[in-house]
């Protein structure tokens, strides 16, 4: 027990313009869950990749006693293969020279049952919602049963109920002797499940302690190096009509929506609360116009007296930043103007005004605290949370009439989450209509003026901010009255 399962000493790793990891010592003990927390860009993923052996450190040593597995922050799955093919890739059960598909299916089914990660082994991965893809990624590592398991934000896309199930199986693993490192931004998880916690800031470990001796507040202060920012105040607004959805039907029978009525007015945030997979994706895609639907989705053209334009300006914060949001090989500037390239400030005649585009990107970076070595680095090199902040910034910077925000704080640290939430409230205060779809009920309760609970593709209940009942919402989300 006393010799660590994984031992990192003096790890340092620099990228052009930034020292991502700056002299880190870290020990993982067999049978123990070790939490690693820190701001976006603190160097957590880089450290995990070094421990896994995927990245070579500039200096320092990695000693491991056993096999190492890593669940990546951004999934590495093959979309057009199904679940069992992804989970068992490279370790396919055989019958003679062929793959034994029945055995493979059974193995994945048993594994998902044992770990309470519900999944259909034959589902095509690209059709799965992002939470289910996360489960596939987890199952793949669990199947290999490494003695040291590194988990980079494994719960970022899981629903609360799944998170409990997930930690139950991780705790099981630890009890059987696996050393676990878990990177997360959800500090309650740290308190509830980890034995030790290390806090990273700007590439260094700035605090390390047994979890029993600390608290959410103390960890948060260590992360940001001070107090957390306050969330912006909601101002009095006079809501005006903006989006009216009537009898909306879209998507498949299992995961689509079946007749939704919804109104989102300028100057208010409407929150859609629900467990993932109850039609949120179909609702968002239909409203965004990328999924065919029946029923009506109407925007009211005359929105605000100040905006005489006939066009309704809308923007989307999509659920998967890599697939639908960003062009990873483009720079920050290019991504920032993407979709906004025709705005008067940015276009000059038929050309892009590069200077203006830079200034514009700089404004987003400052206002949304995107941390990067420069405006010209590829977005691929940003940490996950900073990619997300860029995406949010691009959607909000122009004060559109309508914003569709899908899990806007996914993968963002507590400090930055407070910032993004503040910006959403400020956007609302300025008269924008915001439709917030989130799996995090606390986020919805903190932001929404009105709340609709979605269950099996229909609205199961509606609440005003004045009369929310958390327990009642929770019951509706679970499908009971």
């Amino acid at each position: 027990m006393s010799t660590p399962a994984l031992r990192l000493r003096g790890i340092r790793k620099a990228f052009p313009g930034v020292v991502a990891v700056d002299g880190v010592d870290l020990d993982l003990t067999a049978g123990e869950i070790h939490a690693l927390v820190g701001e976006n860009g603190a160097g957590k993923s880089t450290l995990a990749a070094i421990a896994f052996g995927e990245l070579h450190p500039d200096a320092g040593s990695v000693e491991s006693n056993g096999t190492v597995g890593l669940v990546h922050q951004h999934f590495e799955l093959v979309g057009r293969l199904n679940v069992w093919q992804n989970v068992l890739l490279g370790r396919e059960p055989r019958r003679g020279w062929r793959i034994d598909a029945a055995a493979a299916r059974e193995r994945v089914r048993a594994l998902s049952k044992a770990n309470e990660l519900d999944i259909d082994p034959d589902a095509l991965v690209e059709d799965l919602p992002i939470g289910a893809q996360q489960r596939v990624e987890l199952l793949r590592e669990l199947e290999r049963d490494p003695s040291i398991l590194l988990l980079d934000e494994p719960t970022a896309a899981l629903a609360p109920a799944e998170i409990d199930g997930f930690f139950a199986s991780v705790t099981q693993l630890a009890r059987r002797g696996t050393a676990v490192l878990i990177v997360t931004h959800k500090l309650q998880e740290v308190i509830a499940y980890s034995a030790r916690v290390s806090v990273m800031r700007r590439g260094r470990i700035v605090a390390a302690m047994p979890t029993a001796e600390t608290s959410v507040d103390e960890i948060a202060r260590a992360m940001v190096g001070g107090e957390l920012p306050q969330i912006a105040q909601r101002a009095q607004t006079t809501p005006r009509p903006c989006l009216t959805v009537h009898a909306l039907q879209a998507g498949s029978a299992e995961s689509g929506v079946t007749g939704i009525d919804l109104e989102v007015r300028g100057g208010e945030i409407v929150g859609i609360a629900g467990v993932e997979g109850n039609g949120q994706t179909a609702l968002a895609d239909a409203i965004a116009g990328v999924l065919p639907y029946r029923g009506s989705v109407r925007f009211t053209p005359e929105l605000s007296p100040k905006r005489e334009r006939s066009r309704v300006e809308t923007s989307v914060i999509p659920q998967d930043r890599h697939v639908e949001g960003l062009v990873l090989n483009f720079s920050i500037v290019e991504n920032a103007v993407l979709g906004r390239q025709n705005r008067p400030g940015i276009r000059r005649g038929v050309l892009l005004d590069r200077e203006k585009a830079r200034e514009d990107a700089q404004a987003i970076v400052e206002r949304f605290d995107v941390r990067a070595a420069s405006l010209d680095v590829k977005v691929r090199t940003l940490s996950g949370g900073n990619q997300q902040k860029l995406l949010v910034g691009r959607a909000l910077i122009d004060q559109p009439h309508f914003v569709l925000a899908y899990n806007p704080t996914r993968g963002i640290d507590v400090g930055a989450a407070a910032l993004v939430q503040s910006r959403l409230i400020e956007t609302r205060n300025a008269g924008t209509a915001v439709l917030l779809i989130s799996f995090d009920l606390d986020e919805i309760l903190a932001l929404a003026d009105r709340i609709c609970v979605i269950y099996r593709g229909a609205i199961a209940g509606r609440f005003d901010r004045a009369n929310v009942e958390r327990a009642a919402i929770g019951r509706l989300m679970a499908g009971s009255q």
Partner: protein, 306 residues
């Protein structure tokens, strides 16, 4: 010939002869298309099919000529295709040359190399001397020689075999995963570049076999430009067949049918210019591709270096 009456007479005879001609004309395209499928499923766009076919055809003619044995020519065609495929594979994996650029390079080098080789080895430009065929005896009633028959049957057997390999074996699964997301393959502890190498070499061998069919199956020589764009037609068949072995084979047969039709029509309608008729398969490929856009997706990492 006698004793196979129905083949010879009337409308039925016409249809049967058209089917047989179609099979002969499609076989080389089927081979190259299968090569295209396996290469593209591993994530390598194989623009070089045309050149690989030429390499196979030339090597088959040379080997068959010098050793007076058709079957040696056939082996030589396969080996030459695989060898050029190996060079292509190295270029696009190890040296990360752009796949389209490398493929065009293969086309130029192979057709140019063969033209030069003709002068060097046969002392004459344009075409080789006549060389022994794989098997020149005519098959009774079928209007093709034994070598053609064997290779036609082999083409369709290989299509089924490739289907089974791609969809039923661990190796096939890994190749397909590599074509979609090589990173996922890497994090499964496998080396995606290995699968790409093997897939591209196999692709070369198949295209080489298609070339050999032309030189020593159907004909008995190598001549400049004898592949006549079949490698590119095969590429169209890959897309039309949605990157699946059976689909691509079906598409190759459709293109083969148009090639066969051209001879058949020429027999019926004398006033049509031969050049216009010769364009038939290419027009068919163009129309097929135009109709196919939007409905199908290439492997996600097709053409993306790793």
């Amino acid at each position: 010939m006698s004793g196979c009456g129905f083949v010879e007479s009337g409308f039925v005879g016409l249809v049967v002869s058209l089917v047989l001609l179609t099979l002969v004309k499609s076989a080389p395209i089927v081979y190259a298309a299968l090569g295209g499928v396996i290469s593209e499923r591993s994530g390598v766009i194989n623009i070089g099919l045309e050149g690989l076919m030429a390499a196979g055809a030339f090597a088959a003619a040379v080997a068959s000529y010098s050793l007076h044995a058709g079957w040696v020519g056939l082996l030589a065609g396969i080996v030459a295709g695989a060898a050029v495929g190996y060079v292509f594979a190295l270029a696009v994996t190890k040296f990360k040359v752009d796949q389209v650029v490398a493929g065009m390079g293969i086309n130029l080098i192979c057709s140019g190399g063969a033209a030069y080789g003709l002068v060097l080895l046969f002392n004459q430009p344009g075409a080789s001397k006549t060389v022994p065929q794989l098997a020149s005896a005519n098959v009774r009633c079928l209007n093709m020689n034994a070598g053609e028959l064997v290779l036609v049957v082999l083409a369709f057997l290989l299509a089924i075999a490739l289907h089974v390999v791609l969809y039923r074996t661990p190796w096939g699964l890994r190749v397909r995963a590599t074509g979609e997301n090589p990173l996922a393959v890497k994090s499964a502890g496998l080396n995606p570049l290995r699968f790409r190498m093997l897939a591209v070499i196999t692709s070369g061998a198949l295209a080489g076999l298609g070339g050999a069919f032309l030189a020593i199956g159907e004909l008995n020589l190598y001549s400049d430009g004898m592949t006549a764009g079949r490698g590119f037609i095969a590429l169209a068949a890959v897309i039309f067949g949605r990157w699946t072995p059976l689909g691509a084979t079906g598409a190759a047969v459709v293109f083969g049918l148009f090639e066969a039709l051209q001879y058949w029509i020429a027999g019926q309608v004398a006033w049509l210019p031969a050049d216009a008729l010769a364009a038939l398969p290419y027009v068919a490929a163009l129309v097929a591709l135009a109709g196919v856009t939007g409905r199908v997706r290439a492997p996600a990492a097709d053409g993306v270096p790793f």
